[in-house]
Amino acid sequence: MDVLNAIVVLANFVIVPATAYGAQLALGALGVTLIYGILRFSNFAHGDTMAFGAMVTILVTWALQAAGVSLGPLPTALLALPIGIAGTALLLIGTDRLVYRFYRQQKAKPVIYVIASLGVMFVMNGLVRFIIGVDDQRFADGERFIISARTFREMTGLSEGLAIRTSQGLTLVVALICVVALFWFLNRTRTGKSMRAFSDNEDLALLSGINPEKVVLVTWIIVAALATTAGVLYGLDKSFKPFTYFQLLLPIFASAIVGGLGNPLGAIAGGFLIAFSEITVTYAFRRFANHLLPEAWEPEGLLQLLSTDYKFAVSFAILLIVLLFKPTGLFKGKSV
């Protein structure tokens, strides 16, 4: 019996990574849910938008690194992030002007937007592959750890170590800032309020003189900021590979739907729910159990519910359960 070590093992392999991953998913899901609330369609290009934002940031980071600029212990990518956001915002606004605005004027059915977003996804994916290629790119620099496993062991005298990577701590801080800023914007500013009004009741909003084009423009800029931040944080934490970003689409959608599409608070809760279930279900609990159980009872197997390759199955299963029992999501979102 060694409760403390068991908790540390759990924190090291489940809680810390899941919190970071959950924050990344939440940022992604916030983007999806905003587009859904304002423009009323599920944006399949969101994963590739994240990839594009991360790519611009990486290119700027490399330029900064080459120029010898650095943030000391923090990754240089933070400095490049605003430029990445600006680049992505330009791309998204351009896409809106060229693609989506036409369908808005036509009052097309939502599914037409979704198909258009497929086309956009193709183009963005092609652009990213064209510019940076399909390979893994590493762009993290600065300190690797806030606490490394060895320091933690020396500090506490426990046999298990707890490592917190800079990218994980950074993810949480940046995500928190983003979310606070977003909620402040939505609830306190005039533009934010008009966005919420537009999302709640489009006709009423138009009647009160809200300019829909401005609302859409602001939405795309915010989405660009959220997507780029999510993409860069994910890239810093894991690594940047265009195809993984496409695959993130499923957990992100699952987070947004589980929380209730169109509901920002739900997107955050959904992100953490999906991340924690994914990691808990695919984590091998053997070491955790070894600390808790008497030696004679030590388990033979890995105590892993599902192999990590099935992590998509977890988000999918949660998605199915929510769709079956509560199609509007855990927090009240829009349906139909």
């Binding site: 369609f41 599920s42 399949f44 693609v99 036409f102 939502p110 599914v111 037409i112 979704v114 198909i115 258009a116 497929l118 086309g119 956009v120 996804m121 193709f122 183009v123 963005m124 994916n125 092609g126 652009l127 592959r129 064209f130 510019i131 290629g133 399909v134 496409f246 695959q247 689409l249 499923l250 959608f253 699952a254 739907i257 197997g301 519910l305 192999s307 390759d309 099935y310 998509f312 199955a313 988000s315 999918f316 998605l319 199915l320 769709l323 079956l324 199609p327 349906s335 139909v336």
Partner: protein, 437 residues
């Protein structure tokens, strides 16, 4: 339903000219390779067109249904591995049965018990207990099977039946998966179905990649037997009648045998395609088809007429997915191997969508035309892109970094081009090349 008019014939003529042009300019062998995959793509487009064009359902899990078809090809045609069956075959089946039984028991608990906390607790207990039992039987059986000569087999093998049988079985597999997805996601908003299909496709692929006992996972199953009338090149090259035939045409026996094999595949695929088109056209003309289009055009009024919209949607979703499954089995037959690593959603799901939108949604002939045209472009954009890049960069120095990068990136041009095709078509000609009448 399609009128035979000048414009439509012209389109088909143009696509035929593209293929013949490829035959003359490059080689007939290349052209037949593209044509065979074009036939399969046309069948997939037909299936998607049923879902989208007839009923307005948005399916982005084509990849999964295709992969299930491929699995069917392996499970039906490969010879069984007796050692593996002896090692753990019955136990695996027992484990799967236990898993299915626990899910069934959970559903029964949900249906029979009154709602409340107690029901949730019992459901969870049944599910978790069932999962433990399943894993307890399954894990040792799987390890035993995968330990049998892992370099060659390490899986249960198939049934050793004729390959042609695998095609309808592939359809059945896909239909089963489609039922599961449709049952949950249909009747909700349209994009939920899209997301659910995206998910099931990822899961099917994960199963194919990781369940080695089933179809060897990423170790791939190779050397699938060919369907009945298709000969093997090696045998052809030894047959006297074939050698004399090749001599009469003045052709190299090796090339000629390869062409003959591809031709026989092409004939088989063409027969399937024609039968499917005929069936879909008949269905579209029938009262059932009219009902489908009525539902698509106005769900509310169809419901008022007493039509069960969700049930009809489920029906057509299963039918369309089954066609994708058949096409998937055919594709694995053509390749002669199942390689789960090559299943890429961009290539299998989204490209088929470009075919349907460009060809003409709601029109079977349009979907078929789109299938051929887009597949040809997909193959040809790469060499064309490479040529374009070389022309653009011709003025730069040989070792120029930008030039190298541009030439290397030419391969990614196809995604960009296909995306542009889709967007332009959707914007300027949303009804497609051959619109619905």
């Amino acid at each position: 339903m399609t009128q035979i008019n000048g414009k439509n014939l012209l389109f088909f003529g143009l696509v035929a000219a593209l293929f013949i042009g490829t035959g003359v300019m490059q080689s007939w062998n290349t052209m037949l390779t593209i044509l065979n995959m074009g036939l399969i793509s046309a069948i997939m487009a037909l299936g998607v067109n049923m879902q989208w064009g007839y009923a307005g359902l948005f399916n982005v899990g084509i990849l999964g249904f295709t992969a299930l078809g491929g699995l069917a090809a392996v499970l039906v045609s490969m010879p069984p591995v007796p050692e593996s069956w002896a090692a753990g075959g019955p136990r695996i089946l027992l484990a799967l049965a236990a898993g299915a039984a626990s899910i069934f028991a959970t559903v029964m608990v949900y249906k029979k018990m009154p709602a409340g906390l107690l029901r949730v607790v019992i459901m969870l207990a049944v599910l978790i207990g069932g999962f433990m039992i399943y894993r307890a039987i399954f894990d040792p059986a799987r390890d035993a099977i995968e330990a049998v000569d892992p370099a060659l087999t390490g899986y249960l093998g198939g049934l050793g039946l004729p390959m042609l049988l695998a095609w309808p079985v592939g359809g059945l597999f896909a239909a089963g998966a489609a039922w599961l997805v449709g049952k949950t996601a249909l009747g909700l908003r349209s994009d939920y179905l899209a997301i659910a299909t995206l998910g099931i496709a990822e899961i099917i692929l994960a199963v194919l990649k990781n369940e080695d006992w089933l179809a060897r996972g990423v170790k791939n199953v190779t050397g699938l037997p060919r369907p009945w009338p298709v000969p093997y090149e090696v045998e052809l090259q030894e047959a006297a009648w074939f050698l004399s035939l090749a001599e009469r045409f003045g052709a190299d026996p090796v090339t000629a045998s390869s062409i003959l094999v591809k031709l026989s595949y092409g004939m088989l695929f063409a027969i399937v395609l024609l039968v499917l088109i005929w069936m879909s056209e008949m269905a579209l003309k029938s009262p059932w088809g009219r009902m489908m289009r009525a539902i698509r055009d106005n769900e509310v009024s169809s419901e008022a007429m007493g039509k069960d919209v969700t049930k009809r949607h489920l029906q057509i979703f299963i039918l369309g997915s089954a066609i994708c499954g058949i096409a998937g089995a055919m594709m694995t037959t053509l390749d002669g191997q199942l390689v789960p690593g090559t299943y890429n959603p961009l290539r299998f799901t989204f490209l088929i969508w470009v075919m349907v939108i460009v060809g003409g949604s709601g029109n079977n002939w349009g979907a078929v035309l789109g299938g051929f045209l887009i597949w040809w472009l997909w193959i040809m954009v790469e060499p064309i892109g490479l040529w374009l890049m070389q022309t653009i960069t011709a003025g730069m120095a040989e070792d120029n970094g930008l030039r190298q990068h541009l030439i290397d990136s030419a391969a990614h041009m196809r995604l960009l081009t296909m995306g542009l095709f889709l967007l332009l078509m959707l914007r300027f000609n949303p009804r497609g090349l051959i619109p619905e009448r």
